[in-house]
Structures are given as structure tokens and as C-alpha cells.
Symmetry: C2
Subunit: 188 residues, 2 copies
DNA sequence: CCAAAAAGCTAATGGAATTAGCCAAGGGTG
DNA sequence: CACCCTTGGCTAATTCCATTAGCTTTTTGG
């Protein structure tokens, strides 16, 4: 029997692809194994089980989203930065709805996930810097608000929560506009 | 064997209580049956299965949240209404994190859920009316923005996404303040 | 009082996760 | 080159859950 060439990274990457297709909550080790043409228990040589796999997906999502946001934000400031980061956030979530759904459910005590999340927050903090928001408490409030709006929007969009007869793109544009507005006048 | 006095409503209510305790994704028919001291298959006399139960929880959540918001909004306008509705939204989600997690995952084609969601949107629309937002497209945009911010905030809070050293209450107050600000200047 | 619907039950099936333990592949060392 | 031992696959067995089928008892309405 030739070997399948698995590794934790390969397994997680395939699981991520799979979950983006079938949706979060429908990820099974059985389906992952099938994709590799491998028996289910073989996966346990690379990941610790289903829970562990979920946690690894959370890490992948947080990391990839963080780098996407970082890329989008570089060289921009103010409204430009807000728009670019928001668009990147939405794009990532829409293109990877499965893994995105796991992002907020890391393995408890996952150091790396904490770091990856910190990267996301740092990018958002960088956006805020362009608005002259300085006071530490205020920065946290603004980051939380920005993240809430972005997360809420994409999750509602992914789950089909925007059923009214109006292009979601337009609503997103409007949301970005008003986010910029809110940030500009935050200190006031 | 005496009867357990089950009914669809009773089963769903108990499942809702259970899922608020154990968290969404950890709801099993086995656990529900155990709560009633009943064999698992007995539940199938009242609900159509696990998927069906999920959908019913989604309906309960949408309905209850809708009435909570409606109550909070009555007799208020402008910033008061925004604050009251936002607080009610957050309270409901924090007190019922399990069922809240199912709210956006109705059985496909569930008429009643659509109606219940419509009630929520109507309340939010009522809040917007107090800000003089009139243009239909704009109203939809604003409703979506408001809902995104609220949903995103409570979901991040529930999932432990607010780890930074700052009381979440303060951040929520700030979010409500800036939401009011955004709505006031939406037309501008 | 009886019949039939409703509400429980047990039994059987199937799928998924997990654990244990076996065996071959293949890489490094003598 | 041969050997060993780590690694990565396998099968088998267990457990848990969901689901379906079919039986029995309760309840209720005529």
C-alpha cells in the first residue's frame, strides 16, 4: 500500500477546502478521509480528532484573515483604509464561509490563535490610528465596534439573513461609509 | 407506564433550555429525552428529528427576540429607542446564547420564521423612522447596518472574542452611542 | 363501553468518532 | 547492502447518536 503523503498541514488544508464547500457543522472526519482515499482512523496520526481539527481550522481562518487584512491596509489611511480592510474582510468570509465559521471557536488555550487574533486587532487598530483615536480605552471600544459590524454583516450575509430586495453590495457600501463617518466623529 | 405529557411546544421549550446550558452544537436528542425521562425515539412523536428541532429553535429565538425588541422600543424614539432596543437585543442573546445561535438557521422555507424575522426588522425600521430615514433603499441599508452591529457584537461577546482588558459594558455603551450618531447623520 | 388515535416503548439499522493494536514502507546507520 | 525502528497506513472493536419500524398502552370521543 503506497502512502498517502498526509501531514497535519495537508489534512487541515483539505478539511478547510471541504468545509468551505459543505458548510460549517457538516464537517466530518469520514468525509475528509474519503477525500484522501484513506481510512478514517488514519487521520488520527495527524490530528487529534474532530475537536482538534476544528481548532486548527479556527487558527487557519484567523491567520489567513489577518494577513488578508494586513495586505489590504498597507499604504492606506482614513476612509481608504477602512474601505479596503472592510472589503478584504468580507471577501475572505464569503470565499471561505466554512472555515470562517470556526474562527471564533479555537481550542481553549490556543496560544497561536490568540496571536493570530491579535494580528487582526492590530490591523484594525492601525486603521483607527489614521483617525486620531488615541485614548487606550477608546481604541478598544472602536476596534470592538468595527469588528462587530464587519463580523455581523458577513455572518448575516453568509447565512442568508439579507433577504430583502436590495443588493447586498449597496448595503455594504453604505455600511462602510457610515463606519468611516462613525470613526471620524468618534472623539466628538 | 404513565405518560410524560410531551408536546411539540414542551419538547422545544426544554431543548431551548438545554441548549442555553450546553451551547449550540452540543444539543442532542438523547439529552433532551433524558431530561424528560423518556426514551429517545419517543421524541419523534412530537418533532421530526434533530434538524427539525433546530429549525424550531430558530423560530423560537426569532419570535422571542422580536417581542423583546418590540417591548423595548414602545414609547421611545431616537437615541432612547436605539439604546433600549440595543440593550434588549444584547440581553436576549446573553441570556439565551444557545437558542440565539440557531436563530439564523431556520428550516428552509419556514414561513413562520420569515414572519418572525420580519417582526424584528420592523422594530428596527421603527427605530429608524425616528431618525427621519425615509428612502426605502436607505432604510434597508440602515436596518442591515444596525442588525449587523448588534448581531456581531453579541456573537463576539458570547464566543469570548472580547478578550482585551476593558469592560464589555463600556464598549457596548460606546457602540450604542456611535450607532445613534451614525443614524442621525445617515442622510448627510 | 368500545374503537381508534395518540403517545409511549423496544428492537434493529446505520453512520460517525474514537481507541487499540497490527503491519508495511522507507530512511538512517552499521 | 542489510537491518532496524520510526512512521503512517490498516482492520477490528466500541460507543454514541439518529432514525425507522412496529408493538402496546393510554386516552378520548362517540
Amino acid at each position: 500500500m503506497p502512502r498517502a503523503g498526509l501531514s497535519p498541514e495537508v489534512v487541515v488544508a483539505e478539511a478547510a477546502r471541504l468545509v468551505d464547500e459543505v458548510g460549517p457543522g457538516r464537517l466530518t472526519l469520514a468525509a475528509v478521509a474519503q477525500r484522501f482515499g484513506v481510512a478514517l482512523p488514519s487521520l488520527y496520526k495527524h490530528v487529534g480528532g474532530l475537536e482538534d481539527l476544528h481548532g486548527r481550522l479556527a487558527l487557519v481562518a484567523a491567520r489567513d484573515l489577518g494577513t488578508a487584512l494586513r495586505r489590504a491596509a498597507t499604504g492606506k489611511a482614513g476612509a481608504d483604509a477602512t474601505a479596503a480592510v472592510a472589503a478584504a474582510y468580507r471577501s475572505y468570509a464569503l470565499e471561505h464561509p466554512g472555515r470562517y465559521g470556526y474562527m471564533l471557536r479555537p481550542r481553549s488555550g490556543d496560544e497561536e490563535h490568540t496571536r493570530a487574533s491579535g494580528e487582526i486587532l492590530e490591523v484594525l487598530g492601525g486603521v483607527l490610528a489614521g483617525y486620531g483615536i488615541e485614548d487606550p480605552g477608546t481604541v478598544v471600544d472602536a476596534i470592538r465596534f468595527l469588528r462587530s459590524a464587519l463580523h455581523g454583516f458577513v455572518e448575516l450575509e453568509i447565512s442568508g439573513g439579507f433577504a430583502m430586495d436590495r443588493p447586498v453590495d449597496k448595503s455594504f457600501k453604505a455600511a462602510v461609509r457610515v463606519l468611516d463617518l462613525a470613526l471620524r466623529s468618534w472623539s466628538a
